[in-house]
Amino acid sequence: MDPNAAVDRAARASYGRLVAYLASRTRDVAAAEDALSEAFRLALETWPSAGVPLNPEAWLLTAARRKLIDAARRERLPVYLDRPDSRNFPDERLKLLFICAHPAIDPMARTPLMLQTVLGLDAQRIAGAFLVSPTAMSQRLVRAKQKIRDAGIPFELPGREHWAERLEAVLEAIYGAYGAGWDDSESNGLADEAIWLARVASSLVPDSAEALGLLALMLHCEARRPARRGPDGAFVPLAEQDVSRWSRAMVFEAEECLSRAAKMDSPGRFQIEAAIQSVHTLRAATGSTNWPAIRTLYDKLIDYAPTLGAFVGRAVAIGELDGPTAALAELDSLPEERVSNYQPYWAVRAHLLAAVNAPLAAQAYSRAAGLTGDEAVRRFLIGKLGNCV
């Protein structure tokens, strides 16, 4: 194998496992990352001439471990680094995920920290996805790692009593990564990374119904990515998507996750959201959307997680079932200060108004267009705005 490709592959497959293992022994995430990047550099230098080792992961672990010991000696710090069985060292990624989502960590830093430590994404790319300056993002990450090291956040799995709440924060953070990758139709790769993280989480916590629910939710959304843009790059709303362009493999896997989750009889927000997407996906088989089911699911979702998105989603279902006036009344009941910058609210409002009041619809389309950062969506909304006048 080409040595550079081997390093790439090892980085992708083993980065999180190696960082998690090293950090769990030293409690110093930044030092573990530095040691590992040194090890990768060494691999790039030596593998082309010496050949790719039989077990690249074990080689990297040994090299990184040596770097950590050297660094600690230079600083005259004590090192507690056991000599691991490098072929079979424990997977500490779950601990690392839990630490990244620890309540003591700045909530704004949790998702970026996860992306960096578990997946090895650089601060520049994370900064772009979360729309903060690269310097600010680096500082945020550095502070979070210092906190882990200096505040004594334990590298242990939380006790069972904190399990649900802490796992929820982990899943939240993964969903945050997916959201950050969503806008771009060409996918900045974060959506894939989030799905990968959810796979890791659900394989590490196989009895979590919500981890499976989150995976199912993201797979359903991801399955439609190819259909969200027309051949000319134009935005295509869900109702007009060509269902033959939805990825069947992803839909199939999503359904499989969701039914496994359902058997655990432990419902939650992500499972309900996945079930809503599942109903939309059924259109590919039946040719029509079961709106009563969607409305019932949104009612249930609001019981679990009364987010703005859930209310706006339910208004869409109400509009389909009872007509725009009823749906608009629902939207009017939402607090004005919360909706003023919430783009989906204005897009849905415009869609509902289009049938009853063209001038007001035009205003709402304009507002929705002004709040989106996605050029294809903006063009779509302005096209609709043009139809209102």
Binding site: S366, R367, A369, G370, L371, T372, G373, D374, R378, I382
Partner: protein, 119 residues
């Protein structure tokens, strides 16, 4: 904090102002500016005519040098600016990313310089 957002547009985007794409061009900007107004963050701002309409003046010794157009011909030209009042840079960047210029050109966001300290 108050930030200036400077919208840099490509020549192609700026040329849309006088083409059959003009309605979409203006609708995008109007929507964007209106949504900042409705959100109560906008303090002021202006659009600018294209760089061909610019005239540059500098003094070399006592001689005035007047030149047609901007000095350097860069790919992106300042098309306008807006000042907004928001809590922090993250919020300013969020608004900047929503501008039509962000998808074709770029948006520079800078904090406004506070008045110099009184003596």
């Amino acid at each position: 904090m108050t930030y200036a957002m400077m919208f840099y547009e490509t020549p192609e985007a700026m040329a849309e102002r006088n083409s059959d794409k003009a309605p979409a061009y203006w609708a995008a900007w109007t929507s964007y500016i209106d949504s900042m107004g409705k959100a109560g963050v906008m303090k002021g701002g202006q659009g600018l005519q294209p760089p061909q309409m610019a005239t540059t003046v500098r003094l070399k010794g006592s001689q005035r040098l007047v030149q047609d157009g901007p000095y350097a011909d860069t790919k992106e030209q300042l098309g306008g600016f807006v000042t907004i009042d928001v809590e922090n840079l993250d919020q300013a960047l969020e608004w900047a990313a929503r501008s039509p210029a962000a998808s074709q050109g770029s948006v520079e966001v800078r904090p406004i310089l506070p008045p110099p300290p009184a003596r």
